[in-house]
Symmetry: D2
Subunit: 399 residues, 4 copies
């Protein structure tokens, strides 16, 4: 699986791939079948290893079926029923509806993507902490609206990136990944019928959650904030890296020359170039994340009835694309930061060459009547310390 249209895509490996999605759907059916058996609803003889009945080539048949039925579950269930013996065949999927399987499977896929993103964020937090410490006192011009503003330090800039990364990590930490097992109309009617009681039905749903390590939840077939929050959090990650990439792309302009990616990309015709490729590819991601998250909101807002007539279907590929891209950008950002070169000499020279950057201080000193504080760096040190402290706290809680 390659994606020539999205360089770096392979960094996301099989996360949110068709194969992963199929495996997750099978895991949902398996866990549900096991729950039915465990509850004494289906006979023990129905126990079967569902995944063992599938082969790679099934993807195409399931995809064709999805085009007919509007989702891949009917085809998958038909295929499994055709390949398993009785009583497995008659019991599998009983009590579930297609949306239960798709939604729960997507939460499983998303969980894997989030785990990967969290690892990258922790890696970045470590690298940024080190960089902030190292460049705590490296003078660097602060620029506002593209123009020279005041003296600052590279450490402050890096600490700000660190804060952005920690903010993004915090947003991820708040996400909840609910199980979906409401049956055809979100009332657990079939599960109640099968188990003979409401409590039994809820136990089935909770058991599915426990087995799959998702959060127990009432059905959410048309209340989609769990999905939009995932999208918003992923976009927030991409925003953070977008900001870093914009700074690096700017700082690596040869006329500025304060920052450089190590091992930037070459040119097909200009051998001298050291392009900030990681930054460029991250910026690309950052330009597409917001609209993808917005698409999830629009879908959520168009929810209707007990299963939506298009809004639900909008989510799958949107989440897939947004999650894979976030993983790829996470990896790009980790690499970018790991190899980032800060040219202290150029930074010092640019600062020295900047016009008027001490004029504000003169105004202030004029007001206070005191001699100007050397450097005019304000609370630079404390801002760095505060970011480092927050990172330390975050990393302590992150394996």
């Amino acid at each position: 699986m390659t994606d020539l249209f999205w360089p770096g895509d392979q960094r996301a490996g099989t996360l949110m791939s068709d194969r992963a999605f199929l495996a997750a759907m099978v895991a949902v059916e398996q866990a549900w079948l096991d729950a039915l058996i465990g509850a004494g609803i289906a006979p023990a003889s129905a126990r079967a290893d569902l995944g063992g009945h599938l082969a790679d080539g099934d993807l195409e048949a399931i995809a064709r079926g999805a085009d007919v039925d509007g989702n891949p579950v009917s085809g998958l269930v038909a295929l499994l029923r055709g390949r398993t013996e009785q009583p497995t065949a008659q019991w599998l999927h009983r009590g579930l509806t297609s949306q239960d399987v798709v939604d729960t499977a997507l939460m499983l896929c998303i969980r894997d993507a989030l785990a990967r993103i969290r690892e990258e964020l922790a890696d970045q937090a470590r690298t940024l902490s080190r960089l902030a410490e190292t460049h705590r006192a490296t003078p660097m011009l602060a620029r506002t609206l593209t123009q020279a503003a005041l003296p600052s330090t590279a450490g402050v800039k890096v600490a700000r990136w660190l804060v952005a990364v920690l903010d993004a990590a915090e947003t991820l930490a708040e996400l909840r990944l609910p199980v979906q097992a409401g049956g055809a109309a979100g009332t657990l009617a079939a599960a109640v019928e099968l188990s003979g009681s409401v409590e039994g039905a809820i136990r089935l749903s909770d058991s599915l959650a426990v087995t799959l390590r998702l959060e127990p939840s009432p059905p959410w077939h048309t209340t989609r904030s769990a999905v939009t929050r995932i999208g918003d959090a992923l976009a927030t990650c991409c925003d953070a890296w977008g900001h870093i990439a914009a700074d690096v792309a700017t700082g690596s302009r040869p006329e500025i020359g304060e920052l450089a990616e190590s091992g930037g990309g070459g040119s097909s015709t200009m051998p001298h170039k050291n392009n900030p490729v990681r930054s460029v590819l991250i910026r690309r991601t950052a330009m597409t994340a917001g609209p993808l998250a917005a698409t999830l909101h629009t879908a959520s807002a168009m929810s209707v009835d007990e299963r939506s007539d298009g809004a639900w279907h909008t989510e799958w590929a949107t989440m897939r694309t947004l999650a894979r891209r976030t993983v790829v950008a996470a990896s790009h950002a980790t690499d970018l930061l790991a190899g980032l070169q800060i040219d202290a000499a150029r930074a010092r020279a640019n600062l020295a060459a900047a016009d008027g950057v001490m004029s504000e201080q003169q105004t202030m000193a004029g007001l206070t009547g005191r001699a100007p504080i050397p450097g005019y760096l304000g609370a630079a040190e404390q801002l760095i310390d505060s970011a480092l402290q927050r990172a330390k706290h975050y990393l302590k809680d992150t394996p």
Copy 2:
């Protein structure tokens, strides 16, 4: 102030209006001046009531100045300096930068909008709780992909709306509204210079937060997750109401006739019509909220340097529009729910006329060998109870 292009706009009153924004900016300057005086940095004789020096007509001059300077603060400060005596004139705004004033003022404006939205959400939670209780046993067809699915109840549908409203309220509850007081380069350099110490500068910033009842915060000039999270939460609210409105618009189709707005809008040429106007206007809002939230993400992702060259400026009107629209939609949703009519007879008739809605139960009963449970309503009651319980908990914590 009217907005013929956005019917209902007046429901947002002066929230996020130019006047409110100006008042908030003046409040920021006032609180900062007071903090300077309180810290013994500016002399007591600098104390002044800044708001008293402004008149309505100033808005136009400040707007013209904003076009020249790129934001309204330079003009406002110049105007205040021209109208106040010394030493007030020379002390006001010292230590702040334009972005400090705009960002903090926007947080004040947003707080007022959020307070109003929270009131509406609480009102809706109360109405929905009552409706869910009243229609706990009202039979209603569950529909999936537009087609008849299973029997359900109006109470379950209403409880699902309630859950969506509570989800939205939860997202709002997580928001933090930080103060911004980093000075020209986000290093508090001027404040340190003025106060003579880093601690003094941080005390000034914290004092601003306390006076304005915002959260103390390190500067966030180019780390904008506070802004994107507000946008995401507002969109989540609009999504929840969009879902309700889609259900009501559908249910009030005359061929379905299960739901109706009270006092729907008339037609300019067809006197017989009872249009679901609240639903229509909410759906309108819901279609625009996602892209507005996405614009905030794009802006955040394009952050660069110590103040962004356009990304920051993108936020102001986007937040204003999104916040006002959310307030208007909140009010529309409150009215919609307060007047919602549920026609139990039509709902019962539609359910009775639906083909095949008991067929799933027959399959299940065939598997269990037990007699079908009358009604096939599954956990309908418990889903309602769970939503009611959550609402009760929420309302207890909400004044």
Copy 3:
């Protein structure tokens, strides 16, 4: 009317304002009444100057009515009927539906905005032509992926901006602004009834188009490509200026220093700064235009029935905001270009300092065996000429 949240808003004056919208709606009602009279359907005694019956204060009442009815027309018609004598009162609006009035009025408002944008584009094309000519031979570094690429000229860069402006102008030129007069269900039923014949009804609709200088059209209540095309064209304009602004913001970084806005904005605390405010404000617009155009597409795609249940209402404010912002950005771009300073010395110095920019030429010369062509400027002259030629052609056709 000011907009502190969108500096520069006043440049759009009353274009697409509530007042302009109301005046346009009245113009539609007037033209329709006149058509009814002209066709002998309404009596000559029904003739009246509708606008004369309205006052500024009516806006608020109409806005309140729009909130009740979902659009401003019912309230406007009721108000006019209450203030005019018979037979005027009973004849006005007969045969029209609210959407006819709103859609046609919006086309009138859009026409005025487009006219203004076209003037600005022509102005820009003239300025850019002059700049391209002046800087035809000014050496300037070509940069790709932020890095030094090859030698080029300022003239080529300016010519590329010119091409972008002409592309945008071309998109505008293709727009059509249709009249809407389909009656309640888009079948002209009432107009046929009133005129006694289909031909008579179509004549009424065409007459409305002629009077208002719009394009005759079959009803388009739920086929909205006319609207989305307007949005797409406006976004295309903003894209063109966004590209120019990005180049100017970059080129005016002090370390590059090749470009500068004249009279850039000042800072509230740093007097030395010359911020590229026009560029910043244009970039802001450019970040918001795409999502607004997308909102129009989403609305179009959600069209349903013979009048949509929210999608239509989504368009009004979206078009208003997009059109006003495009006008403002047009004006900013005109100013930016009129005052643009190109520092030929800095450009030459940056080029001279760039590493490796002749390496590609050496490779090529190695292949051909010929001596390198001095300057390695390729077809720079011809690219400029081609853009100038296209501008000349465009300006000849533009008054």
Copy 4:
């Protein structure tokens, strides 16, 4: 290649696939090499069949290279140079830059997608023409804001869909697909160097266009309206089908029952259901198209320098996804229309049951004093005829 996340994806076959993209890039390199040889710049002995040197397995290596270099061209060229003999190896790609190859290849891929979409649109226009004729006199209720409005006919509704399809086709017809061959900085410097003259360089570029059947064009590396217009046109197609799908999804609600898809999708648990799957999947597409088109606008607006630092890279996958989805939706729409069932009896019954739909006519008749025209269908026939006429004209020009 399957896409379980986007049911129906296989309908787009290899259009815009990695393989198609790679083949197109090779076609560009081939045509350019041939042009160099044809112009006598490269020796005849450099002639080679480049495609013959590539195998399927190369995709992965090229994808890895794209991650390093930021685009797939450097890797492709290196691979081809490694596999071809001299003098082929040293001549291929000379004068081009990566963006030339990617942009031109994307235009080739897009052309194939557009051709397929045009076929589908023509097919739809034929089906809709037939349906409009067949149901010219089938009574059907016109609905506005979800409520009963006036009598109309199924033919008018179908004719309106036809107009939407023709509008979309018109937008496609205006697209131009330009060649890109500007070299490293968009000045054709290398091509001038190689050919020895500006005219020679332009001949090379034009020759590339002719061979590949694209439009000759000056370089457009950072003026991207050609790309945004493609995105806008594709979204316009999706809008048209979205509107049709919304009408069909609504009309196939069992309580309305006027429309039905033939062979709708089944349910995994409810055998009685006939879901409007085509409509649902089209609505899904329609919700995602606008934001994708907007992403292209944002990218265009963020263009900078002589090659953009992320904006360009944003386009590739965005165009791919939008184009493939449009092809899939085109195919879904063709199927939907081919199998559409219009239940004239239900339509007649719904109309008869609708309250008040003749009240407007009574008002009109009261004004004219004439007897009401039977049916109150207005210009229904003429609207159908006008649409049919337009379709005929379009189909005559479409093979």
